[in-house]
């Protein structure tokens, strides 16, 4: 019998299911009629959260949930998730396994793929079934300059999917589904060769979730000046981002870095202030809905990636825009 079923790995290292897991369930529901079988979700969770997590995954589209119960202290140990996912793949015999392309997922996915000697495609932007019934994975390469369509000759087909590319489905808590609790069998040494000592810090800035990003680059003249642009971002209901040089200089934290080695973002509005537009930066923001750039240099490469390119000083522009936005808010209230 040929493999059917889709298996979604629900990311949970903190007690909260990563939102991208739900986006994958939505996509799986769309693909399942062409693949056959059922949509499975698998999760490593705790005794306390098991019931709630199963309900959530079913509400978002899983037909069956395969659960592994672990002690809360083991949740951030990726080796535990690796063993669970390997067992789930063996149990479900899926044709397709989807994993969120978060840093966690991009570390776990290839580790599991190598263990079962199957192909995996990284950081996909789309996935579809072609006219021959083959699963085709679409991904960027070459710092986002190239798009490749890839098929996998081995089973299961594995892919990590970039968060945010598929819309999250509306949860339906009336949906019915089965919950299968599998025994968590850990190989010896799993919790000894790798130990998680604790959380350093939780990110307070989530660029990937922002509708508006105001990003600053080398045009910024001092660390203190960040305040002005942070205020502008706030007034626009957005988040402050930056280009790589500012992180390298220690002026802003790496969570704010937009670009190939930082965060890939796709907000509704991206405002690039004093950013010339190195290819690595462009790769991180070019899929934004609208791009506005302000730069003193008329030949800055970012110009051709902008809807509006203003030749001028980022400070002057920010001050004027800020005062108008504030005025409008005053009038409304």
């Amino acid at each position: 019998m040929s493999a059917r079923n889709i298996l979604i790995y629900a990311e949970n290292y903190s007690g909260n299911i990563h939102r991208a897991s739900y986006e994958l369930l939505g996509k799986a529901r769309e693909l399942i009629s062409k693949i056959g079988g059922e949509v499975y979700a698998t999760i490593v969770t705790t005794k306390e959260d098991a019931e709630k997590h199963a309900k959530d995954l079913i509400a978002y589209g899983a037909d069956k949930v395969v659960e592994y119960i672990a002690d809360k202290s083991l949740l951030p140990n990726q080796q535990v998730h690796k063993e669970a996912l390997l067992d789930a793949i063996n149990f479900v015999q899926p044709k397709l396994v989807l994993i969120p392309a978060t840093p966690w997922g991009r570390s776990l996915g290839p580790r599991v793929a190598a263990a079962i000697k199957t192909g995996i495609t990284a950081d996909c932007l789309d996935i579809y079934i072609d006219e021959n019934g083959e699963i085709i994975q679409v991904r960027p390469a070459f710092t986002g300059n190239i798009i490749a369509h890839i098929k996998t000759l081995t089973l299961p087909v594995m892919a990590t999917i970039r968060p945010g590319v598929f819309p999250p489905p509306k949860p339906n808590y009336e949906r019915r589904g089965d919950v299968i609790v599998r025994e968590m069998k850990l190989s010896p040494n799993v919790t000894e060769t790798l130990k998680v000592l604790g959380v350093v810090r939780t990110k307070t800035v989530r660029l990937s979730d922002a509708d508006v990003i105001v990003s600053v680059g080398k045009g910024l003249r001092s660390k203190e000046d960040v305040k002005l642009f942070e205020e502008l971002a706030k007034e626009l209901g957005g988040v402050l981002g930056c280009s790589k040089p500012l992180v390298d200089m220690g002026w802003l934290e790496r969570d704010r870095q937009v670009g190939f080695s930082g965060n890939t973002v796709r907000p509704k509005l991206y405002i690039a202030l004093g950013i010339s537009g190195a290819p690595q930066h462009i790769a991180g923001m070019k899929d934004s809905q609208y791009v506005i750039a302000v730069n003193l240099d008329p030949s800055a490469p970012i110009a051709k990636y902008s809807d509006v390119f203003i030749i001028g000083d980022m400070y002057e522009f920010a001050k004027r825009l800020l005062s108008i936005i504030k005025d409008q808010k005053m009038k409304k209230s």
Partner: protein, 269 residues
């Protein structure tokens, strides 16, 4: 401490051209250089060697013309550079590449720590670190942002999980895939341009060339190259740039007006 650094010779993405009809980089358009992420692995390796002594061996799988990149690695502080090159390695996807690298590491024998960049600028998969670790049966952590501490038998690092950073302790032997920027203990690592004398020394250094036959006593050659690769590129094209208006404005008031227009369209004001 015996340290292995995995180095991918990659084209400079700002200069290289892509042969879209064949779906490969036009090799004549670009020389190969060390993947920028891997430069950090070399720097970290040097600092660990300074603390414990030992050797730094780099392993790369690339066409023969990648040799200058390996000389650069030697100039930057690698003691021994191995280039896996053979027509039978060609066309490898990440699974076949990782398998080949893992077999070369086995062939090399003893090691304590493997360092690599989190991903490459051309492939951008981040697969190689975790896959090599799996084939060798050792623990790994990817997206490492800081080396907190290292002793002869363990390493403590901070890693980006996505929504938070965690402190992870690994028993050696282990593999660490590094982000950039990366911090070693308290020091912000920044790759340095090699000294002229080191460049001259590297010019005379020996690059060890290993082919498929050399690994055949421990490896399964059917898992090398295209034959050992489960994924196939079926179509490739340039990423279409969104049709931007690229409206150029020189006047602030007009610029602000254009921005307000967009904000209104997005129903943000």
């Amino acid at each position: 401490m015996d340290i292995i650094v995995l180095i991918k010779p990659t084209p400079d993405i700002t200069k290289a051209k892509f042969d879209i009809s064949r779906g490969v980089v036009d090799r004549s358009s670009a020389t190969l250089e060390i993947n920028p992420f891997d430069l950090y692995a070399i720097e970290v390796a040097k600092r660990i060697k300074a603390l414990f002594g030992g050797t730094i061996t780099s392993i790369s799988m690339a066409p023969p013309h990648a040799e200058p990149a390996l000389r650069d690695a030697i100039a930057r502080g690698v003691d021994r550079a191995i280039l896996l090159t053979d027509k039978r390695f060609a066309g490898a996807d990440t699974l076949a590449t990782s398998y080949t690298l893992a077999m070369a590491i086995k062939k090399l024998g003893k090691f304590d720590l493997i360092l690599c960049g989190e991903k490459s600028v051309d492939g951008d998969t981040a697969h190689i670190g975790p896959e090599v670790a799996e084939f060798l049966g050792i623990p790994h952590v990817s997206f490492v942002t800081r080396i907190v501490d290292i002793t002869k038998d363990k390493i403590i690092v901070e890693a980006d999980y996505g929504d938070a950073y965690y402190t992870v302790e690994l028993r050696l032997s282990a593999l660490i895939a590094l982000s950039r920027p990366v911090i070693f203990k308290e020091e912000f690592i920044e790759p340095q341009t090699p000294k002229f004398s080191d460049i001259l020394r590297a010019k005379k250094a020996r690059i060890e060339i290993w082919n498929a036959d050399y690994l055949s006593d421990i490896a399964d050659p059917s898992r090398f190259g295209l034959a050992g690769s489960p994924t196939r590129v079926v179509r490739v094209y340039y990423a279409l740039e969104k049709g931007r208006q690229a409206k150029v404005i020189k006047d602030y008031d007009e610029g602000v007006k254009a921005v307000l227009e967009i904000l209104k369209q997005l129903r943000m004001i």
